[in-house]
Symmetry: C2
Subunit: 153 residues, 2 copies
Amino acid sequence: MTHDPRKTFEAARAASTGELLLRAARLLDESALERLRAQPGAPPFRPAHTRLFPHLDFEGVRATELAARLGISKQAVGQLLGDLIEWGMVEQIPDPTDGRARLVRYSSSGAEALSHGLGILAGIEAEVRARLGDQAMQTFREALQTVIDVLER
Amino acid sequence: MTHDPRKTFEAARAASTGELLLRAARLLDESALERLRAQPGAPPFRPAHTRLFPHLDFEGVRATELAARLGISKQAVGQLLGDLIEWGMVEQIPDPTDGRARLVRYSSSGAEALSHGLGILAGIEAEVRARLGDQAMQTFREALQTVIDVLER
DNA sequence: TACATATGGTAAAGCACCCTTTACCAAATG
DNA sequence: CATTTGGTAAAGGGTGCTTTACCATATGTA
């Protein structure tokens, strides 16, 4: 039996969990954004905006803090926040502890939009869970966390 | 016991498997590209280039076919292929069945680079597998495939 | 207190990336 | 011979950042 390195390539590529992961994430990203914007009256969210959401809350965060967490400049954050404010997703209040600073937090209509977005993700997740079962779903989550741990180290 | 919708938000967000998936994929994407380019003499691959790799082989593919698979214009593919040719990753040969067409395929030095890239992915995958075990790894792969199925439908 | 420096934020310009659009040529197809 | 198809060339546009420059408030220090 001869050994064809080309076949080995193909086999290795077909087996790559990494490609599966990237493909699944890209699909999720596109799909979630697509469904989000399909909502009538929904602002034209772009991926850059959605990356802010996990770091926003109701207590208020500084733009500087967001920039640090996302690893981008505070000016870039400022541009994205400008959109979100314009769309009514978030509002700014003065930071009571620092006259220079402002706190940005979800507005009440922003909370609704967020809720809708989370609902979309939850819907997809539920569909996956229905096929996998609870136990495999738990394993899935642990595996994802392991990947994150390995890559963040 | 009162029900605070804010707390519910936070709990729902913390539990989002979707965010885990997106985060893991983004890390993998960045990490793989970073390690790929860390190789001395490695061409300055960009994400757009790496997305071509899974669709290239040793038999040869048409640019039009690549464009169709990636869902982008053939001109866009042409630009990316121009880089890969310049970097010696791929080579073009005339399509024996069609005088207008050309087939693009991995060059021998491209095969080495590909092999190195696959090695990087395999290394990450092995590290994850070592922590999860073979069985959980299998579950992980099935879960990823399920996500893809759900979203592609 | 006065001043230098650090920090939070904004404004404007510009850049890299990744794609599209428009236009075109050459070979294949009917 | 008209039309379709594979491919190329050039220009341009949207996105998501950075860089440079600046203002206002805070903070540490002589």
